[in-house]
């Protein structure tokens, strides 16, 4: 097993004006499950492919364990890959698919047999060992692809969108399978996805990338509760965080956030930070997650300084919860997530209280989170 260290990594494709990956620094600990996540074209797959040795590193250093591997061929990096196109070898049965790499490396027959059966047992595919790929379902094929990687007992597993060819239900099931597998194998996994739910549910640490740059690398809850900037705040969470343009002002000794139909008092601790950083009197972006807008009477009663009135444009009833699309607040549609029991109707008005312990303020120019505090992760 080994950690992976990326130091000041750049990737520039021939003829490109801008690097695809810019000054990427990341230390992945031994046995850690790290998920690289970001929108299409953010550089996450390129980063993984550089680790795999499938793309040349333009600048910077890449270490697997203590070994500098910039110029080491993929096959000598002691990694195993599971990619989106998990093509199995069509003319071989499951056993042969899993044994192929070991056979090629001249492992003893008994060792091959032991490894294949152990991996098959872990993945619950022992009963499929004699079958050909075309006789398998999508989920079974994906398990075989994982098995093919597991039998090699690599230092690091690299997975690039391995679940994206599966249907939604199977994807959810395989998510937890891979997480369990990680705990069982106790090995380093670097996993790439564009799906924030996959990232949040699987990663011990998630690395959010945009335009070739790491935006934040932290555990899922940290990223969710303490986003470093506007991009991270908007990318993680569904429905995503509400962003309202407005002004930080001072009224009757209180620091307040003001926008159209919004005038909420900012609690003293955070007000102090805003004063110290010189945000009073400045335009900012106010961020609040849909679940941090409340309609419960007890919350409204306890939060007289953060109450707003809005019109319900659309109400989506999802059974256990409702998603309200609210108009009249600031310059945008604000989304609130409330419980599924409270009766609400489209076109009516509603009173809500903002949880003033959970809001975020972003600098309008830099888009950095004003209250962000770097954790030790």
């Amino acid at each position: 097993m080994a950690g992976v260290r990326l130091s000041h990594i750049y990737k520039t494709y021939p003829g490109a004006k801008e690097p695809t990956v810019k000054d990427l620094n990341l230390e992945i600990r031994d046995k850690e499950f790290v998920v690289l996540v970001g929108p299409s074209g953010c550089g996450k797959s390129t980063t993984l492919r550089m680790i795999a040795g499938l793309e040349e590193i333009t600048e910077g250093e890449l270490y697997i364990g203590d070994r500098l591997v910039n110029d080491v061929a993929p096959k000598d990096r002691d990694i195993a890959m599971v990619f989106q196109s998990y093509a199995l070898y069509p003319h071989m049965n499951v056993y042969q698919n899993m044994a192929f790499g070991l056979k090629l490396r001249k492992f003893k027959k008994a060792d091959i047999d032991a490894r294949v059966h152990e991996a098959a047992r872990i993945l619950d595919i022992e009963h499929l060992l004699d079958r050909k790929p075309k006789q398998l379902s999508g989920g079974q094929r994906q398990r075989v692809a994982l098995g093919r990687a597991i039998v090699r007992e690599p230092q690091v597993f690299l997975m690039d969108e391995p679940l994206s060819n599966l249907d939604a239900k199977l994807r959810v099931a395989m998510r937890s399978e891979i997480s369990k597998l990680h705990k069982r194998l106790e090995t380093t996994i670097i996993y790439v996805t564009h799906d924030q739910t996959e990232a949040m549910t699987m990663g011990e640490r998630i690395v959010i990338m945009n335009e070739g740059v790491i935006q934040q690398a932290a555990p899922p809850t940290e990223v969710y509760n303490n986003p470093r900037n506007l991009f991270v705040a908007g990318f993680i969470g569904s429905p995503s965080m509400n962003f309202i343009n407005g002004l930080i002002d001072e009224e009757s000794g209180n620091v307040v956030f003001k926008s159209k139909n919004i005038n909420v008092v900012i609690p003293e601790g955070r007000a102090k930070i805003l004063r110290e950083k010189g945000y009073v009197g400045r335009e900012v972006i106010f961020g609040i997650r849909p679940e941090d807008l409340h309609i419960e009477p007890i919350f409204l009663e306890a939060s007289p300084n953060s109450i707003v009135n809005a019109g319900i444009e659309v109400a989506e009833h999802l059974g256990h919860e409702q998603i309200l699309y609210l108009e009249g607040l600031g310059d945008t549609t604000v989304i609130a997530r409330i419980d599924g029991r409270t009766p609400v109707s489209e076109g009516s008005n509603i009173r809500l209280a903002m949880d003033m312990n959970k809001f975020h303020i972003f600098d309008k120019d830099t888009e950095e989170a004003v209250f962000y505090q770097e954790s030790r992760n």
């Binding site: 993929p74 890959m81 998990y86 093509a87 069509p90 003319h91 192929f100 090629l104």
Partner: protein, 375 residues
């Protein structure tokens, strides 16, 4: 020149396929050209105390040796073996005579690869790849008269060191587990000639598979094995089975075209199947200006901006024959959400992709849009 090492020293060209057909007609038995392992060949001979070049009976076939090439023996296999002892002896004598007339060479395997490469490149360079028989010295290789499945693999990343041919040969040989010829066309481009038996169905389910489906899964498997075994990411294509002596240079041209077109029109794809690229091949010679003009005419605006979601939705819709339910299922969205997206696209572009003619325009414009946006 590398290709001249061990090159032909006289001899008469032999059309092995013609010879095979003649034997079939005369003896009313089915003959085919194939290879067997040299070790097996020797063992079978030792079991019956037979000379090295005497015929052997094996699993219902009568095997007549043609030549020993490295660790393989090229044979003419007759099945069912209904010949009399006299006929069998006559075939042996005839083949011995033919063998003696063949050009002499030093190192069968490597020389064949070099000579094949030279033949392919010279035919392509001369611009006359069709309807030309191989040069006389290549007719000494019966392997070129057996039906083969050709693959082309092209190195896709920028490692400075060229790929080690021996390792690649070993990997691909193990992968196909059958006689396979790997011909380096240059440092990053390899021609693979695999046995036709790869396409034989191995069970009932396999019998229902089309040739394209079988070739496609083999091609994806080949790409996958190169990636998994750490050789790197290669672009891979395949062609329908051919008899190399008849059409190899032309087949190489077709496969090179498939890779070139696939690489330019389908970003991040490494398996390029010719039968999926007909439209791409038709559109690729258009100039950039013509492509942009067509896009603008279809979308009725300069520089249309299509977001990833719209592109994915439309592509999936076309891939699934404009079937709304299937598309919604594939995209994991509600049918109404898909209809909403298609309506939104119609409102913004004036194009209704549920109308056949407009769908054709959008399909082509989308294909061109992706190419022009990347260059």
């Amino acid at each position: 020149m590398e290709g001249r090492e061990g090159a032909a020293t006289g001899g008469t060209p032999v059309d092995w396929d013609r010879l095979r057909r003649q034997l079939e007609q005369i003896l009313q038995a089915e003959f085919r050209l194939k290879q067997v392992g040299k070790a097996d060949w020797t063992r079978w001979g030792e079991e019956r105390d037979l000379p090295a070049m005497a015929s052997r009976e094996r699993e219902g076939e009568l095997l007549f040796p043609i030549r020993i090439a490295g660790d393989r023996v090229e044979v003419l296999a007759a099945s069912p073996p209904l010949m009399t002892e006299t006929e069998r002896r006559l075939v042996e004598v005839m083949l011995e005579t033919v063998r003696k007339s063949l050009p002499k060479r030093k190192n069968g395997g490597d020389t064949l690869k070099a000579e094949l490469r030279e033949w392919i490149e010279s035919q392509i360079a001369a611009g006359e790849p069709e309807d030309r028989d191989p040069p006389a010295h290549l007719t000494a290789y019966p392997v070129l008269y057996q039906e083969r499945v050709p693959f082309l693999i092209v190195g896709g990343h920028a490692h400075e060191e060229p790929f080690a041919g021996d390792e690649l040969q070993k990997l691909i040989g193990s992968f196909f587990d059958s006689e396979v010829l790997l011909v380096p066309l240059d440092e990053r481009e390899w021609l693979v000639l695999a046995g036709r038996s790869l396409l034989d169905p191995d069970d009932e389910a396999g019998a229902e598979e089309s040739v394209e489906e079988r070739l496609s899964s083999l091609c994806e498997g080949l790409h996958s094995v190169l990636l998994n075994e750490g050789e790197g990411e290669f672009h891979v294509t395949v062609h329908y089975p051919i008899v190399p002596a008849q059409s190899l240079p032309m087949t190489v041209i077709r496969m090179r075209e498939a890779v070139a077109v696939g690489r330019s029109s389908r970003i991040n794809q490494y398996v390029h199947l010719p039968w999926e690229l007909y439209l791409d091949q038709l559109l690729s010679p258009l100039s950039r200006a013509d492509k942009i003009r067509f896009i603008e005419q279809v979308f009725k605006r300069k520089e249309p901006m299509l977001d990833d979601e719209t592109i994915l939705t439309l592509e999936t819709f076309f891939e699934l024959n404009c079937n709304v339910s299937e598309t919604a299922k594939r995209l994991y969205i509600h049918r109404n959400t898909l209809l909403y997206r298609l309506d939104k696209f119609r409102q913004e572009s004036g194009l209704d992709v549920r109308n056949f003619n407009q769908a054709v325009h959008v399909k082509i414009a989308l294909q061109l849009y992706k190419v022009t946006k990347r260059h």
